[in-house]
């Protein structure tokens, strides 16, 4: 089973890297050892098979969501990591997924 958290935005640079860093530092603070990577949304279908958790910044289209479900990849909204709003619930879900 794949074991990696990916964060995808429109270019795989600014926003996804920011959110990935934020998640990484939260993991580090709690001693959670889990790979985190920022990726380009345009290559999301190639990235999903090697992922277990998908945090989206760019809105995923239906095909991507179906593929994630088929592969058993958990999907979370990433924007709360930028705005701070509702981030605790999402982060808790992610942490639970890292323990699977």
């Amino acid at each position: 089973m794949a074991r990696k958290l990916i964060v995808a935005c429109g270019s795989g640079v600014a926003t996804s890297t920011t959110v990935a860093e934020k998640i990484k530092s939260k993991f580090d603070a709690q001693g959670i050892d889990y790979p985190v990577e920022a990726v380009d949304y345009k290559s999301i279908l190639q990235e999903l098979p090697s992922a277990s958790i998908y945090v989206y910044i760019a809105k995923p289209d239906d095909e991507v969501l179906q593929e994630a479900e088929k592969l058993g990849v958990s999907v979370y909204a990433g924007v709360p990591f930028l705005t701070g709003m509702g981030v605790d619930d999402i982060y808790e879900g992610i942490v639970n997924d890292t323990k699977k």
């Binding site: 270019s11 640079v13 600014a14 949304y41 930028l82």
Partner: protein, 158 residues
């Protein structure tokens, strides 16, 4: 280049009279190109980018948007701060829902590994209620410049 160096008083305009996002993009793209910060592909780059991957954010205290293009259109890193005279419609990052915004920050990211701190630092500021209320009250370009610089000095020196 540090975030502070990207901030410049001449790259702040708090009285932008435009009707919509497209007019704003055209205006700012022209200014940025004339000042040598972006190349001729920037306007199309930012329009296409925003269409596919919008950047509006509803934060706790303020609606903002962070339009940015792919790095190939940026000649020199920058941040351009704009406030429109009336709200314009943009779409939200993450779910593409419509929202209204007056405060837009154009991020000129040339080298993501060097400028990725910028977005992080901005988001920290916009979760700070005291900062946001001060920012909203400030109507002079120079005032906003000083506000950001002072804030970062405080962060740096604890």
């Amino acid at each position: 280049m540090s975030t502070q160096q990207m901030f410049q008083p001449k790259l702040i305009d708090l009285n932008v009279a435009v009707q919509n996002e497209e007019e704003l993009f055209e205006l700012i793209a022209e200014r940025l190109q004339q000042a040598g910060y972006v190349n001729s592909g920037y306007l199309e780059g930012i329009k296409n980018r925003e269409k596919g991957f919008p950047t509006g954010l509803i934060t706790e205290y303020l609606n903002i948007a962070l339009p940015h293009s792919d790095t190939e259109y940026v000649e020199r890193p920058f941040i351009y701060v704009t406030r429109t005279t009336k709200p314009i419609r943009v779409k939200q990052m993450g779910d593409n829902q419509e929202m209204e915004v007056r405060d837009l920050f154009f991020l000129g990211i040339k080298d993501p590994s060097k400028q990725v701190g910028l977005l992080q630092e901005l988001m920290v500021l916009f979760q700070n209620e005291a900062f946001v209320s001060e920012f909203e009250k400030t109507t002079e370009n120079e005032g906003v410049f000083n506000l950001f610089i002072n804030q970062w000095e405080e962060v740096k020196h604890g």
